[in-house]
Amino acid sequence: MKTVYKVADDRFSVETYVTGSGEPLLFLHGAGGLIGFEPFLDLLGERYTVYAPHLPGYGESTGGEFIEDVFDAALFYHQLMDELGIPSAHIVGHSMGAMLAAETAALDTRRARKLVLASAAGFWLDRHPIADLFATPFNELAALIFHDPKSALAQALTAVPDDQGAILALYLERMKRLGMASRFLWPIPERGLGKRAYRIAAPTLLIWGESDRLIPPAYAEEFLSRIRNCRLEIIREAGHMVMYERPQAFVKAVCDFLAA
């Protein structure tokens, strides 16, 4: 169900997808944002109360002008959690969202009950340079982020509409979203998480798609070596968009970890 929350008076208006029941679970989307086709959220909703907010600047959420760096973003999530009445929750982040989830957990160690970081951004390794998402034209995106770029799913999620008006609308929304993402990811998606990751106290699960060509699984090592209580699960036949490509496997990994 779509709900719009006012946060910090009228500073932020936050479009949030809320579903399910159980312990609270906060899902933080990646740079592309929520696209309205997220079956994995409903699957998670069978066990948890899932909150999936659009970061300000994404979807109908407003207040992006108040979020200029990862600290602003982490504090925004703290504020949002307080106002949702879930001062702590399981936090699951994808890609850029995983980077922000890690910052959220590091800046206030009481926020994350357990932490799941999927295809996580946040580090830079010279020997595994991360492809430039921002310089990748939309029609070349599928090859970068999907295990099988020819799959019906990959094609559907990166289809360019026929109608000029629809193309412009898609372009505008994409520019708006990635423009916001650039504040954390441009030009190198690294903002010093390595200095703060030692603070993360929550048990942490890393999930990586085996064929992630955007942020290769080699990056898991960085997280494993810096977060105290941390383990890795690789999902086969999945790329960067692991939870879209293998929703059941993703949800099972998350639920097993959260229930353990």
């Binding site: 200029e68 430039d132 921002f134 310089a135 990748t136 034209p137 029609n139 070349e140 360019v160 193309i167 412009l168 372009y171 505008l172 994409r174 520019m175 708006k176 979203r177 990635l178 423009g179 916001m180 993402a181 650039s182 504040r183 441009w186 030009p187 190198i188």
Partner: protein
């Protein structure tokens, strides 16, 4: 009407099949293609052209800033302007410009522009572009969605550094300085004229209008595509209650002048084709970083949109007749060029024509001929345009009698040649 002889300083020797073999002419073009020995000759060839244009009576000579770019070899236009300041006397120096948000701290621009103004005896026009997305975001790493704010702050700092008689502290968001106090300060008081080059973003018009700056529209799409942009600019000026003074608008255009109309295609076509098909081979992914343009500017869609299939901005394999039909450049005999330019200038209502005469791979002899014909048979005949308006965006240089004269180089004097090993 005023004419600026503008140079991009392109590399003239990009290889055959450049478009097929390389990803982009800008940002990630491999620098092994660039031969510094060739580059040495090119710099001097191009500076010669600018100096010759000054001799021929162009009102101004112009240079600009690009980075990691195969058709723009001036990461620092100020170095070129410094060289030109010594070898020219009358011409205005249009540096169009420095991407002010990229200098750290931006007082560096205030200082270098002040140096140029002092060195040239007050002949500087200070251009202050936001910078293209390729330059600012991809080459220099500026975060796209905050670039415009950073730019405005840099502008405020530079203008204040030029005009404040006192040392001041500057507590900006992007730059914090305890002591701003530039030495030297500019000759022109209170400051050199400021031109804002732009590519059609609507916010840039607001900015230019707010500050009463000249706006220069730079594009390679030519004069037909420029009509919508210039109309939009004048609409904003009218709404803000500004005088519709043509000198507040500059427009850049490629111009080829030949003895006969047929000569234009015959001698110049391959070099212009080189420009559009090799120099402008910009990878679509580099053209428009997310957040660089505001949604308002994207929605305005003033410029031709990329092809949906190829995402290319310029269609494949453009030929001479396409350039002419689409109005990308004006070419032909002096009579043809005169007549067309008069229409373009009046249609766009621009008081500053920024003329590009060295285009693509054009060799010096062709550039020389076209430049001479323009200066002799086109420029004087168009000077009468807009004579009823005052150009308030032009330098107030020192009178000739107060100017220092560079001394001739005398190798033999003081036995300099004997001192050398």
């Amino acid at each position: 009407m005023k004419f600026t002889y503008f140079h991009l300083m392109p590399y003239r020797f990009l290889p055959e099949g450049f478009k097929q073999r390389y990803h982009s002419v800008w940002v990630d073009i491999p620098n092994r293609i660039y031969d510094p020995k060739v580059g040495h000759r090119l710099y001097h060839e191009y500076l010669d052209q600018l100096e010759y244009a000054a001799d021929l009576g162009f009102d101004a000579i112009g240079v600009n800033e690009h980075h990691q770019n195969g058709y723009g070899l001036m990461p620092s236009p100020n170095l070129m302007a410094a060289s030109l300041a010594r070898r020219t006397r009358q011409a205005t120096l249009v540096v169009l410009g420095n991407s002010i948000a990229l200098y750290n701290p931006p007082v560096r621009v205030a200082e270098e522009f002040a140096m140029l103004d002092v060195l040239s005896g007050g002949r500087l026009v200070a251009g202050m572009p936001l910078g293209t997305s390729m330059d600012a975001n991809f080459c220099y790493g500026a975060v796209p969605s905050t670039l415009r704010e950073k730019y405005r702050e840099a502008h405020d700092l530079i203008v204040r550094a030029w005009t404040s008689p006192e040392v001041f502290a500057f507590n900006g968001k992007y730059t914090k300085l305890r002591y701003v106090n530039i030495w030297p300060r500019p000759i022109q008081q209170p400051r050199p004229p400021i031109w804002i080059p732009g590519g059609g973003s609507v916010e840039t018009w607001d900015f230019a209008a707010e500050h009463d700056y000249q706006y220069s529209f730079l594009s390679y799409f030519g004069y037909r595509a420029a009509q919508k942009v210039c109309d939009g600019y004048w609409e904003v000026m009218a709404k803000k209650g500004r005088q519709l003074n043509p000198y507040s608008l500059g427009f850049a255009l490629g111009v080829v002048v030949t003895d006969t109309d047929a000569d234009a295609e015959r001698y110049y076509a391959e070099h212009v084709e080189y420009f559009y098909n090799r120099c402008l081979h910009i990878a679509p992914g580099f053209a428009d970083a997310p957040g660089y343009r505001t949604l308002k500017s994207i929605q305005a869609s003033l410029l031709p949109q990329p092809d949906r299939k190829s995402m290319a901005i310029f269609p494949e394999g453009l030929k001479w007749r396409d350039f002419i039909e689409r109005g990308f450049l004006v070419a032909g005999s002096a009579a043809t060029v005169r007549q067309q330019l008069r229409e373009v200038i009046k249609g766009l209502r621009c008081g500053h024509l920024i003329v590009l005469q060295q285009i693509g791979s054009m060799p010096p002899e062709l550039v020389r001929r076209s430049t001479e014909l323009f200066a002799r048979d086109v420029m004087p005949q168009l000077r009468d345009l807009w004579s009823e308006f005052e150009d308030r965006w032009w330098p107030r240089a020192l009178p000739e009698t107060e100017r220092a004269m560079p001394a001739p180089v005398a190798m033999a004097r003081a036995g300099a040649d004997k001192v050398a090993p």
